[in-house]
Symmetry: C3
Subunit: 478 residues, 3 copies
């Protein structure tokens, strides 16, 4: 154990914690390789059996047609995909590095479970959405959808951050991706709901699923790790890298899978103004709710993003920049108030230990987004949408339903999502409670050195002077 | 005040500074929420009254035409927009994190004033450029222009960094965006000048406006904060994140609003070579001007970007890569010399305390860029531009003026810009001098903990040993 | 020398090291400005004589045709270019910041040699590939290729990281770019090999070239710098910024210069799945090969990227996602095993001091990629590729050769590349061994303060208390 042990000692944990650390409980020597390599081999086999290039990625199929190479969907989706990809890996990954001793795990486990989830999501979503003649056809749009599904898993990760082993996280991801795909299928295919930016399917689902899981995994003695459940100066700056990449690329996220043309364009713009408005609300509320008027980094890092969440469903609709800014404004206010007043309540009364405050960033703004989407859909008229109705509300355009019914189905979709998230989280929570995953004990949560080789501190001036002085003290003592 | 007070004490400020900090002067409890929320509500109302989707973002209008969805301007501007967006929020934000105790404010206030400015700029620029039937029509191009205008505000922010309150910055942004829009209107619409990458409208204007503001706000006792007006090892690495994202995406910045086709392509390429050339000049000059040949991070972080500034006006012209490289080379040399010799002079003689050295990165290279643009415009011939003349110099192509006159108007534009910046900065500087904004006193500039909850230091090995040793000393004393 | 001297002393180097540092040996006052400015002036002159806008960037040429502005290649290559650009400057730059005292040099020298290499590569590659009537025609595709060539130089930089002066690195870049261009010309033009993502031309070449150079520059007493040849907590997080941007944008890298349409689309997707698969393999192997099951940041930072390297040649082929995932899986396993077992062997037995482990990330995975490419090429049939054969294997489509021969030529290309890299590295290594470049002595490798002004440490609480206590000790002593 060597260096890691010393490291741990140097952070002042009790001997019990250290003993725990060296114990077999959290040792990943067998469990992690087993699950990583076995899951990957299963994925490879399933891809071999089930997955095929789609029309736009297959050399033969593409060249059969008369279309120009410039019409390939790659050019109209791939820039959005790359922005989404950055959000998933750098955005979510660095957003969670705010903890002082959990940066390796935040970025690293985010990396691991995202790399797994996107593969597994390709299969599960393909099974529900892209099954043609027994094969799943894939291309850039399925890649975006796989990244989206991964986003939901990473939201749930935020709720349990610091308290779970990587094996536990992979198991959670496996189940959550499956449930996500079922819920998405019910919403988009069965109910014909619209949710391009995933206020419901991604944010509401991911947040409430994660909150129930963390409730089931409640740790009564987590206060023993409390001193590490906070940031240091530079960890807060690393987290801002995550925040900003999420904020900047959110317009691409919400518009990545909307219809081409005005739809993508409008969605990106609505999201841009919602986020800007949300940011001012966040700064204002952060100073207002602090007793000394000082800004809280937690709010800036998180609540400023709520405007992107809350515009997820309605972003493609004719909400107008005016409407988008109102939505962002409300989202920012709700989110800061949630961090300030609701999170402590949830923790003390409902025993929900929500490390990253996903309820404030994804949960409540997600519900707000679903409601805004339902209302905006119910208010849709041909007067406003013209020929564009068929892209935004195809069922209304085809007169299969009227706007009001579309709005109603949007509202039902929210209820379904909450039900799936709560029920699914409950079951998966109990599965994750089994004492077989090597999760840390209450005294050593939020600590990288359990699962990572952590380097020692830089040798500094201080150390040397300290040594000199220590020797002097020694001499005086003798 | 609790932790923040201890924090401050731990940084060794005098009791006076601490008293100051706890005083009402810098308390943002009322001022910041008031300005943020009121401004945002005003913006929302104005957007509601004035702003509409343009042809490419409106569902009805877009679907009236026969055009293909693939022709939507989204696909030809949005990737550039996203690059510009990254420059504004991550580029400018992190570039200013070089200060050891001002990272939260650098990234955070950058975030705040950018989120405000882009909304306000949409209105002001729309009022001057995009007013149709009493409504402002917006789409991706207006989003890019709003981000551009925001860039100018962030340049000015660099000049006053560490010495201003967030309320003061928002007030500055409000006025500067307005003046920027007027100046831009005079240059582009009245004078018919070309300035796609904003050497004049963005860089020269932003720099000289900020320099005059910081001159008016001159702080005679700023040396009392001198020890915090420097970097530490990791803050310099954070700043390099900003530098590199600015450097890499500058080709997108300069080409974001040029005409489609060869123009965007050429502009990006000219900028690419200008920046590469500038980088070698910067490294060379940095080592040359140091007495021991050691490179200075300030030069690398800033002067290497001057090649992007200086090619802002002429980038879209037929400057050739050869010409671009000469421009970049000169910009790098001027900029390093400015940091080395001119900035100390400006501070000691002209009382211009330019925190980030915006005069060296944006001011002088901006003027160089304007001059290069004027000369290149004057030298334009149909021989060289062929049918492309109408995209680069529409007034020359339509024979409304000849190349030489175009060059002259470019030069006049520089003069107008300098006048607007100096005059505007003077007035706004005096407005910002009012003692109502909660700006920090001279002894506590460059310090996050005035406006932010700053986390404590990580508990380290040293602390513990220190405690042990302190106890030993105690024992020896008794 | 002042601050830098104190800084150095504070890091505990022996007096000899300090003397060395202040000596003329590593002083860059003359050498670095000379080489930077002279090289840049030569580049400018050569660009003036040789380089012209190509059809898509020239105002006159572009407007002669009848094509739409939307058909300009800018729109189909530039987003990929920007992703590649981020990989070169932020990806490679930050990946190497893992060293505790070498962050300025990692990011800074990466910046310098990349800015030089891309200009020089434009000329060398243009000479071999884009020479028309005595002129080199350039546009976005040549910019991507120049960045690619730069990538090879940066790989070699990884092998010699911490042990070379910036002057030495520029000289290495000058020769390596030249040899790269010759090798690329032999492979792509003479042998007609396919290598869109550069498994051979970039990764294998760059790695083995760098390994031979570092072998020739073998430092027997490098153990005296050993304490700095390791990471600290935050330096590992900075390195993850590099890792993730490389990982996320690798699909753009491999697809940046493939044929338009299905080819780019397929290449990006194959790379995406290869990398995801590689990541799970890397985490599994990292835990498996650690005696206590703890993950090693070195593996996550590097081996997780091997899947992008290994899919470089075959990515554009009809490898299927299934095949891509197998390739990524193998690459991850090989790479972790290399870091764990082969690198120590190479260092102790073959005297190859490979700072970043480029043999594990680029060398072996590059060879694997070349082999996979050869096999996949040999297996190509019209049955599978249909009309797309002409884009992937033009010589097979035109029946100039059959698939089996194409595979054979791919294999020969690997051999040629290895020969060029080993031979070239040997010669250039001896050139770089000349004692004229100001490289550091064995005792002060991996140290920024030789070539950079390094800021002091932040003044902290500890320092003050320490001082107080030191005074107390003093008093007690007297």
């Amino acid at each position: 154990m060597g260096q890691a042990l010393k490291e741990e000692v140097s952070h002042g944990d009790s001997p019990i914690a250290i003993a725990d650390m060296s114990g077999a409980a959290t040792n990943m020597r067998v469990k992690l390789p087993a699950i990583c390599l076995v899951l990957q081999i299963i994925l490879i086999i399933l891809f071999g059996v089930l997955v095929q290039y789609n029309h736009d990625t297959d050399a033969k199929l593409w060249h059969k047609g008369n279309q120009s190479d410039y019409e390939n969907d790659f050019y109209y989706r791939y820039p959005s995909f790359q922005d989404v990809h950055v959000m998933i890996f750098v955005g979510f990954g660095f957003l969670m590095t705010f903890l002082q001793r959990y940066g390796f795990s935040s970025v690293g486990f985010n990396f691991l479970i995202a790399a797994f989830s996107l593969q597994w999501a390709t299969l599960m979503q393909g099974f529900f959405h892209g099954f043609h003649g027994g094969k799943i056809h894939i291309g850039v749009e399925s890649m975006i959808n796989a990244d989206f599904c991964t986003g939901a898993v990473l939201i749930s990760f935020g709720a349990v951050l610091g308290k779970t082993s990587p094996v536990q996280l992979l198991v959670m991801a496996m189940f959550e991706v499956t449930l996500f795909s079922i819920n998405e299928y019910i919403l988009l295919s069965l109910l014909g709901a619209r949710d391009a930016g995933g206020s419901m399917t991604i944010h509401t689902f991911g947040a409430y699923f994660g909150l129930v899981v963390t409730r089931v995994l409640y740790r009564p003695n987590l206060d023993k790790s409390q001193k590490r459940n906070s940031s240091v100066y530079h960890s807060d700056l690393f987290a801002m890298i995550g925040t900003l990449f999420l904020w900047m690329f959110w317009p691409s996220f919400n518009s990545a899978v909307t219809a081409h043309g005005d739809d993508q364009h409008r969605t990106a713009m609505n999201t841009y103004y919602s986020l800007a408005s949300c940011t001012l609300a966040t700064f204002g509320m952060s100073a207002l709710t602090a007793h000394d008027g000082k800004l809280d980094m937690v709010h800036i890092q998180n609540a400023a993003l709520a405007g992107g969440v809350a515009i997820g469903t309605a972003g493609e609709m004719m909400l107008t920049p005016f409407g988008s800014m109102i939505v962002g404004f409300l989202a920012g206010i709700i989110s800061v108030l949630g961090f300030k007043y609701l999170s402590p309540f949830l923790e003390s009364k409902l025993k929900i230990q929500d490390t990253c405050g996903v309820h404030n960033l994804h949960g409540m703004p997600g519900i707000l987004g679903a409601i805004v989407g339902a209302v905006t859909a119910a208010a849709a008229t041909t007067e406003i949408y013209g020929g564009g109705m068929k892209d935004v509300f195809p069922d209304v355009a085809s007169q299969a339903r009227d706007s009001f019914k579309q709005g109603g189905l949007q509202a039902i979709s929210l209820v379904v999502t909450l039900g799936m998230a709560l029920g699914g989280g409950l079951i998966v929570g109990f599965i994750l409670k089994l004492p077989i995953y090597g999760s840390p004990s209450d005294t050593i949560c939020y600590e990288d050195s359990i699962y990572w080789e952590v380097p020692g501190e830089e040798e500094t001036h201080d150390d040397q002077l300290t040594t000199v002085r220590a020797e002097e003290v020694e001499k005086l003592n003798s």
